[in-house]
């Protein structure tokens, strides 16, 4: 008899614990829903918003299942009516809010289709042969990549190859390239130079630069160089992993010079080692790396940057991802003021040249931009300005926009934003070669 009471008590406590856990899940859910819907500028919440927008599909299922579990756990009949109604309302609201990024996927696709139709004409898909198509994602969105992950593709990877050392700063790169046994691939050994994010002060290649995408593109025949560049050591700290040996008293001019140095070594050394096709080069980067992508890609032929880059490379396209455009105000706020000597009144030329939209000219390569519409760190106006200035010069520029996507919303490649992005990115790279 005592044993039976013991078991009943245990079940009672277990049910109480599960109820408590479910209630906690709901409380966390309400907080996450606020972060997802409203732009709140605070260190932790801003960082959370980058992350939450990427995992809403899983959260949606968790809230839905928690609602059912909680409903099952209501045993007292007098509570049943009002409590179950409250749980249903809360549960369904949380589930619906977290379903919004998934539901908005058709809008992102429609926008991307419009951008590609304008740039390449309505029949742009017919320009891609079926031999290349067979390597691409067949659809803009699928559930398997979303829920069970975007797989790591087979390719060769070499890591931590040193390309720069000035005594104070050492810089390395990783390279992802196709397996030699594979025949004709859509990438045709075109080069992609990837620049990592991190507000010019933090970040790293590899872990901080969407390595799953680097492997995916290498498996398609691209030679992807994921490179480090010097970062400003402003004394701050961040949760973003950053090696100490890349930090120093670095300006944007130094960063461009280091990236330029890499292009020269690519010409003299690495193109032969990795069979890289220098006639077809793409620059790709996100956030701060996206800004540098704009400066390098559009400034490659600008006299202001003359002598920095190898003349043997032909830039066929640039891919700035949630990239800041305006030097003023981004570099007029501490500690980023150190990145450009002087200020917009004492050094107007530098401020002008480190604003990518000012570098546009008719000889520039086409551009594909990623922009989250929930990005309060780098809002849409940045991408729109780059697009307007390139279009004015007769250069194709497509901006893919993603409702509910915050800054850095492409880190988990299988999420609903990234899938659409990868679908159009691989086609853009192929069409621009």
């Amino acid at each position: 008899m005592i044993e039976v009471f013991g078991i009943l008590n245990k079940i009672k406590y277990l049910k109480h614990s599960i109820r408590l856990l479910c209630a906690l899940t709901f409380i966390v859910g309400i907080f996450f829903a606020i972060v997802l819907l409203f732009p709140i500028r605070s260190g932790l919440i801003t960082s959370l918003s980058y992350f939450i927008t990427e995992i809403t599909g899983w959260l949606m299922l968790i809230y839905f299942l928690t609602t059912i579990l909680l409903l099952k756990l209501i045993t007292k009949k007098r509570q049943k009516n009002w409590l179950s109604k409250t749980i249903i309302v809360f549960g369904l609201i949380l589930t619906s809010i977290n379903a919004l990024p998934l539901i908005s996927t058709p809008f992102s696709i429609q926008n991307a289709e419009n951008e590609f139709n304008i740039a390449y004409g309505p029949g742009w898909r017919s320009q891609i042969p079926s031999s290349a198509k067979s390597h691409f994602l067949p659809n803009q969105f699928n559930f398997y990549n979303y829920f069970i992950g975007f797989p790591h593709r087979e390719c060769n990877v070499e890591t931590d190859i040193k390309y720069y050392d000035d005594g104070e700063i050492k810089l390395y790169f990783d390279v992802y390239y196709p397996k030699t046994s594979i025949g004709q691939l859509p990438g045709n050994y075109s080069v992609i130079i990837k620049l990592h994010p991190g507000s010019w002060q933090y970040g790293d290649k590899s872990i901080g630069n969407v390595l799953v995408l680097s492997k995916y593109l290498a498996a398609q025949g691209y030679v992807v160089f994921d490179i480090q560049y010097g970062l400003l050591d402003a004394g701050g700290s961040s949760f973003i992993p950053t090696p100490d040996y890349v930090k120093g008293n670095v300006t944007l001019h130094d960063m461009i010079s280091q990236i330029g140095n890499f292009t020269k070594q690519l010409e003299t050394t690495y193109s032969n080692v990795y069979n890289a096709n220098l006639e077809s080069v793409f620059i790709m980067g996100s956030s701060a790396g996206g800004h540098l992508t704009g400066v390098v890609g559009l400034g490659y032929n600008d006299p202001y940057f003359a002598g920095n880059f190898s003349s043997a490379l032909t830039v066929k396209g640039i891919v700035p991802i949630y990239a800041p455009n305006f030097a003023d105000p981004y570099f007029t706020r501490d500690p980023l003021t150190k990145l450009i000597p002087g200020d917009p009144t004492t050094n107007p030329l530098a401020y002008e040249k480190f604003t990518p939209s000012n570098l546009a000219d008719p000889n520039d390569p086409p551009a594909l931009l990623y922009q989250g519409l929930r990005d309060d760190l780098v809002p849409l106006i940045n991408a729109e300005t780059i697009k307007a200035s390139l279009n004015e010069n007769g250069v194709n520029c497509m901006v893919l926009t993603f409702p509910f996507a915050a800054h850095a919303s492409d880190l988990i490649v299988g999420n609903s934003f990234s899938q659409v992005w990868v679908y159009y990115l691989e086609r853009f790279l192929f069409l621009s070669q």
């Binding site: 995992i55 059912i68 579990l69 699928n142 398997y144 069970i148 992950g149 797989p151 390595l211």
Partner: protein, 150 residues
């Protein structure tokens, strides 16, 4: 005029049949996907199949909750199974989410392998437990005293 009488027993029977079929198909395609990961339309179909199977499993839980006679021995057993399934479903979704996060950030090493294992386990816990649960519902649907269909 169409005269439609909602028959919960028939609905539950059909749903559990569909769930068994979808869960078996998900398991088979899952093996194929984890062994050969390429871009293919087959996997797009696989994605829809497993997602629909999850939803059908959840729907069966809701119907079981409504129509199970929890005072009978077997009814109590199936009811307990719904608790286990719901809890493991939530746990597996967490495994899938964290597995995805780990595989997104690591190029090689223990954490990448751990992430992959979390994804595989998460997926198969949902699918195999779903299969077990829908089979339990289907095989006991005709048992007297287990359900409150009338």
């Amino acid at each position: 005029m169409l005269d439609y009488n909602f028959n919960p027993k028939k609905v539950l029977q059909s749903l559990s049949k569909i769930a068994i079929f979808l869960n078996v198909l998900s398991c088979a395609l899952g093996i194929l996907y984890f062994v050969i990961s390429v871009n293919s339309l087959i996997y797009d179909i696989f994605g829809y199949i497993f997602f629909i199977s999850w939803l059908v499993n959840i729907f069966i839980i809701c119907m079981d909750n409504k129509y199970l006679n929890k005072s009978s021995k077997l009814g109590k057993k199936i009811n307990r199974l719904t608790y286990y399934y719901l809890s493991s479903f939530i746990g597996s979704i967490l495994l899938l989410a964290f597995g995805n996060i780990l595989t997104s950030f690591f190029l090689k090493g223990f954490l990448l392998i751990l992430g992959r294992l979390m994804i595989i386990f998460g997926f198969y816990i949902i699918t195999l437990f779903g299969l077990h649960f829908s089979l339990s519902t289907f095989l006991n649907i005709d048992d007297r005293g287990v359900w409150n269909f009338e």
